[in-house]
């Protein structure tokens, strides 16, 4: 049961993390309509992945691994773009958003960005859903011990969704400026992981052919088959034995973007009180 639990947990994490943060953001913004659209997108993504798995099973073929890897690599890159856009946008508009929220003003300026968030939630779930659907089907269809294998897989995905929900709950409690900084930082790490995952997938697909030497052995930290290992792989994209390309891309993204997000914003209009100095 534990082996499939761990895989289910890892597969479900990234998607539920991104969906949780987007949902918390939309709730904070009182964007009920966009939130509803987001849920429709998430359900659609889950439905598509389930359909894909069932159809493939019915025709008795597995998804060719190279094409699957290439597709996941492309979706990962699109997600990196989406997350980066969201992080930069949050940083730029956090002040303005806060004002609008306080005055309950509805803004047409943000409509396009809401659209981007909804699409991003859809893609995040779609990307992980493909692997999860293939894996779930194997757990239920070809296992000689369906009860243990299937229960583990379902529980793993359920716990991943639970963690996403906890992030969402936490996200709607904390105040908006902290929310931007905290989720911005989390999203930077997720996006760095996605970038490194994209490198991993493209290497598997045979598209990426440079930097494939092993950079280091992280298997003591990200040991496959353990819960902490799947948390690190699922959220941050850490591989047990990453290649040079995976590590280089991770650092090249995470370091400058973290600095950008965590750097205190200089007050523009009013000089004086630094951010965070006001009484809570």
């Amino acid at each position: 049961m534990l082996p499939t639990f761990v895989i289910g947990l890892r597969e479900g994490l990234e998607g539920s993390l991104i969906v949780g943060i987007i949902a918390a953001f939309l709730i904070q913004r009182s964007e009920r309509r966009a939130l509803r659209d987001m849920w429709i997108g998430v359900v659609a993504a889950v439905g598509i992945c389930a359909t894909l798995a069932i159809v493939l099973n019915a025709v008795g073929r597995s998804l060719p691994s190279k094409q699957q890897a290439a597709m996941e690599g492309i979706l990962a890159l699109v997600a990196v773009g989406g997350v980066t856009y969201m992080v930069v946008w949050m940083k730029r508009h956090s002040r303005e958003l806060k004002r609008q929220l306080e005055s309950h003003a509805q803004s047409a300026l943000l409509t396009g960005s809401m659209f981007a968030l909804v699409v991003m939630a859809f893609l995040a779930v779609l990307r992980e859903g493909i692997e999860t659907a293939v894996f779930m089907l194997a757990a239920f269809q070809s296992s000689s011990n369906v009860a243990a294998t299937g229960t583990g897989a379902v529980l793993g995905v359920a716990v991943a969704i639970g963690l996403g929900y906890a992030i969402y709950k936490g996200g709607i409690r904390i105040n908006l400026s902290r929310f931007f900084r905290f989720t911005g930082f989390v999203l930077v790490l997720v996006a760095a992981g996605l970038l490194s995952t994209a490198a991993h997938e493209f290497a598997e697909a045979g598209v990426l052919t440079v930097g494939l030497g092993r950079a280091m052995d992280l298997s003591w930290l990200v040991s496959p088959g353990t819960i902490h290992g799947s948390l690190l792989t699922g959220m941050l994209g850490f591989q047990p034995v990453p290649t040079v390309a995976e590590v280089a891309l991770w650092l090249a993204y995470a370091v400058p973007m973290s600095i950008y997000v965590l750097w205190p914003q200089r007050p523009t209009a009013r000089a004086g009180a630094p951010v965070g100095a006001q009484p809570a």
Partner: protein
């Protein structure tokens, strides 16, 4: 709702493209059974005289932990069972071995299918999760 429709169009295209790939080959008749245990990869049936063409394998994880099944082509003069191990994994790149196909995340007591169009030559199945190759999870075979 416009948003959702856009998403659905993208997804439908993706679904059809995947199916087109998946249905490309014709299903093979008898799959060659491969067994993965903690420390070995073995052919359950006869591994001799695998004929070139579309070969189907069915891999069963008879071990206690998660394994993966990677199919490599092995160049002449390379012994896939004695590769250099660096950072806990077999250095297949240095040996000039190419991945033909692979299935990751095979849970214990689960069977997966893997098929490939193989030309005559030497091939190897490897589980390259950290430490697993060194424990003996490699099997070489020839296609004639």
């Amino acid at each position: 709702m416009r948003i959702v429709r856009h998403g659905l169009v993208v997804a439908a295209v993706f679904l059809l493209a995947s199916l087109a790939w998946a249905c490309g080959g014709s299903p093979s008749s008898d799959a060659i059974e491969v067994s993965l245990t903690d420390g070995a990869i073995t052919f359950s049936g006869s591994s001799e005289a695998i004929a070139a063409g579309d070969v189907a394998f069915s891999g069963t994880n008879d071990g206690s932990t998660v394994h993966e099944l990677e199919l490599f082509s092995v160049p002449d003069g390379v012994d896939a069972t004695s590769l250099d191990v660096s950072d806990n994994v077999a250095d297949t790149d240095a040996a000039g071995m190419d991945v033909i196909d692979e299935v990751e995340d095979i849970a214990p007591s689960t069977t997966v299918e893997l098929s490939a169009d193989l030309e005559p030559g030497t091939y190897a199945f490897i589980c390259n999760l950290p430490g697993h190759y060194a424990q003996g999870m490699v099997a070489e075979f020839t296609v004639s």
